[in-house]
């Protein structure tokens, strides 16, 4: 499990490294990222160090798999995506963000497809889910494109940036995944 790489045509996903920290700080500091995720704003640089350290440790313990997304053509770091399993229920939740300069290139959809495959084929999960705020519909389209199915909207579930936000839940089951890939 330790040296784990996921590849598509245009992106590579690998474990986060401390060398990614400057890129994480640069992209995570954008308020557009904080609007759609739980990334704090203003973004304290030490949060990036803690994030990389914690996620690498979780990886070591098979508690969670947080990947750096690398665009293959220039080797640029473009974002992060993590799969967080709950082994008791054979399910896992995915979270991610893409740096704003790299939006609109399909990286999130590709990464989501790769991590879903990883979740079913390597982590032996039965269900993989992801959420987005209703104020971020683009994320829903990524989830749909990756084969995830809408399950419900939790109204005013989160108190985020001084307001209540609805969260939308998507999920894909192992049986959905096999049906889509047969």
């Amino acid at each position: 499990m330790k040296t784990l790489i996921l590849d598509s045509d245009t992106i590579r996903m690998r474990r986060l490294e401390h060398a990614d920290i400057p890129s994480i700080i640069e992209y995570a500091s954008d308020i557009e990222i904080a609007k759609n995720t739980y990334v704090p704003h203003p973004y304290p640089p030490e949060a990036a160090i803690e994030f990389v350290t914690m996620t690498r440790e979780a990886w070591n313990n098979d508690d969670g798999y947080t990947f750096a997304l690398i665009e293959k053509q220039h080797g640029d770091f473009v974002g992060v995506m993590g799969l967080h399993p709950e082994p008791r229920h054979y399910r896992g939740e995915i979270g991610y963000w893409i740096g704003k300069p790299h939006w609109g290139k399909g990286y999130a959809t590709q990464a989501l497809r790769l991590i879903i495959q990883f979740g079913f084929e390597k982590v032996s999960l039965n269900r993989v889910s992801a959420r987005h705020f209703t104020t971020n519909p683009a994320s829903g389209r990524v989830m749909q494109k990756a084969g995830m199915i809408y399950e419900g909207t939790s109204r005013q579930e989160m108190y985020h940036q001084d307001t209540f936000k609805d969260t939308v839940l998507y999920a894909i089951l192992k049986e959905d995944y096999h049906a889509q890939n047969s």
Binding site: H89, R91, E151, S154, Y159, L169, A171
Partner: protein, 182 residues
């Protein structure tokens, strides 16, 4: 924390106490009760109730969750448990409940749930209260509807118990929907 004790038309909702343990073992030991819950193990261990009661009292004192005994006023009979677990950061809470089989079909859970929702909004100052039931337990959904909770979605194969996956149906009531006159 708080010395919360409520009297409804037919019920007393109060803090759990060690004397409840033998009744809890009997009632929760029935597989028809346990199988519809997330956490009641089956077979139910002999010390399961006393451990649960101890943990509940600790959590109550810490304000982390409030587990109430559902007691029939007339006979001072312990019938089940209803708990509310707040996530204060998001001004929300989840409610869970079970009641022993001899007491099914009398509307006791509806009465208890109504009172706990009132507690959540009027004392804990919450904005959202949610609950879930297994899709093979529609009676629980009717209880949620009766107290004014609104269906939000079905999360498929989200729990694994006794060798099988089960769907959970989610309901929620928001502060703005809560009718203080009822």
């Amino acid at each position: 924390m708080g010395d919360y004790e409520f009297f409804t038309q037919r019920l007393i909702l109060r803090r759990l106490k060690p004397d409840d343990a033998p009744h809890m073992v009997t009632l929760a030991g029935d597989y028809d009760v346990a199988k519809m819950t997330l956490n009641i193990p089956h077979p139910y261990p002999a010390d399961g109730a006393s451990k649960f009661i101890k943990r509940s009292q600790y959590a109550w004192d810490a304000g982390e969750r409030y587990g109430f005994a559902i007691v029939l006023k007339e006979t001072d009979t312990f019938m089940g448990v209803i708990g509310i677990i707040p996530e204060y950061q998001h001004y929300r809470a989840e409610v869970g409940y079970w009641i022993g089989k001899p007491y099914w079909g009398n509307g006791y859970v509806t009465e208890a749930l109504k009172r706990v929702i009132q507690f959540g909004f009027e004392t804990l100052d919450l904005n959202r209260i949610d609950a879930a039931h297994r899709s093979d337990n529609p009676a629980s959904g009717r209880v949620m509807e009766k107290v004014g909770m609104i269906y939000e979605g079905t999360f498929r194969q989200v729990t694994f118990r006794d060798g099988a996956y089960s769907d959970l149906k989610y309901y929620a009531i928001l502060r703005e929907e809560y009718d203080t006159s009822s």
